[in-house]
């Protein structure tokens, strides 16, 4: 790979705003994006990416390749937490290991959105179904995590003993998944009619909103660097190597099923990225 391309990539506005946020937090500036503004930004990003994914899906249609890709994604969302669990279990108790496993199985919407922005900017095409894939990968990881925690936990009053109804509810009906899939469906239905008139809202400000959102992510990430240090060498190593390994698997699988470059990158991002969200129903005291 060309080094100047990497630098060029790092020197684009969204990434620089992320670094600005991180720098601001690092020098303890009082710069902050107060709640619920980040929520507004993330609702916008999810709606936008879902809607455009739907429009592209409507134009591209559901082919065998698309279905294979979706299958691969769900499989990875089931498998990644499984092996992550057995590795992390070497050092941690079952409940925490399950929570971490679910984390690595699920996807980071921020990373996905940033990758999408990168592809658009580089004019590399990708399929609208990758957005659906992201929505589909969130839930299985949570369910696998909870199953693992239960199989290894004897305290039936702890948080892993949520009733199954509640587990599935949190896994499949969390707000981000609903908004993403809903916007995807709406985009697919209204592709011919509304895509143009909504472009001024859904497409044009996308990159700018992403900048503002990544500024906040930078602030948050830098504040949490301390947590990373506190988590010890073993987890630190895992946190660095696991995403890379998963991303490489993603690229391998994409080659195998003959996906295009854009879809391959997104699959790598989906496999490699991890999300805090999925921890929540699993966290222990």
């Amino acid at each position: 790979m060309d080094l100047s391309l990497v630098i060029d990539n790092l020197l684009n506005a969204p990434v620089l705003f992320f670094l600005l946020g991180a720098a601001a937090a690092w020098v303890k500036s009082d710069l902050e994006i107060p709640s619920p503004i980040p929520k507004l930004l993330s609702l916008y990003l999810l709606l936008s990416i879902g809607f455009r994914g739907g429009v592209e899906l409507a134009h591209g249609g559901l082919s065998a390749g698309v279905l294979t890709m979706l299958g691969v994604c769900v499989a990875m969302a089931l498998l990644v937490p499984l092996w992550s669990f057995f590795i992390v279990r070497l050092r941690l108790d079952a409940a925490n290991a399950a929570a971490i496993a679910a984390t690595y199985g699920s996807v980071s919407a921020v990373t996905f959105v940033t990758a999408v922005n990168f592809l658009r900017q580089s004019n590399v095409p990708f399929g609208g179904h990758m957005v659906a894939a992201m929505a589909l990968m969130e839930s299985p990881a949570i369910v696998v995590g909870i199953v693992l925690a239960r199989m290894n936990d004897r305290d039936t009053t702890g948080p892993s003993y949520l009733p199954w109804g509640k587990v599935f509810h949190e896994a499949f009906l969390n707000g981000a998944v609903v908004l993403l899939l809903g916007s995807l469906v709406i985009g697919a239905i209204t592709a011919n009619k509304d895509a143009k008139s909504l472009a001024a809202f859904v497409d044009h400000p996308f990159k700018g909103v992403l900048c503002l959102f990544l500024l906040d992510m930078g602030l948050v990430a830098a504040r949490r660097m301390g947590d990373l240090r506190r988590s010890g060498l073993f987890l630190g190593l895992f946190a660095v190597t696991a995403p890379m390994a998963h991303a490489l698997m993603g690229i391998g699988l994409a080659k195998l099923i003959g996906a295009g470059a854009g879809d391959a990158l997104l699959l790598a991002v989906l496999c490699g990225s991890a999300s805090y969200t999925s921890q929540s129903p699993l966290r222990c005291d």
């Binding site: 009053t157 948050v220 947590d227 921890q279 005291d285």
Partner: protein, 97 residues
């Protein structure tokens, strides 16, 4: 003015509905909710960094008749056990109207 017990329950926002459901089961008909509470406790800082508000706290404030206080405590305790959080109980007077 009548004597009441004032409850202040700080818990993850995700579980706000569990708390209010538990309160309703315990026969409480009125409560107030502050949605935007952050904090630090045994389980680290709040986050709010992903696309849901999973790690944000909320604060439920409830005044109940003194004789109902024990039942409310018992209805809240399992939630604190499962999800962490804090429940403070104090004495207060309720201004009749």
């Amino acid at each position: 003015m009548k004597s009441v017990k004032r409850f202040e329950i700080i818990i993850e926002r995700l579980h706000a509905r569990d708390v209010t459901d538990a309160l309703e089961r315990a026969g409480v008909t009125g409560y107030s909710l502050l949605r935007d509470v952050t904090g630090t406790g045994d389980r680290g800082d709040r986050a709010g960094d992903e696309l849901t508000d999973v790690f944000r706290n909320c604060c439920v404030i409830v005044a109940v008749p003194v004789e109902a206080a024990d039942e409310v405590v018992e209805s809240i305790r399992p939630l604190l056990k499962a999800y962490g959080g804090v429940c403070l109980v104090s004495d207060a007077l309720w201004v009749n109207h």
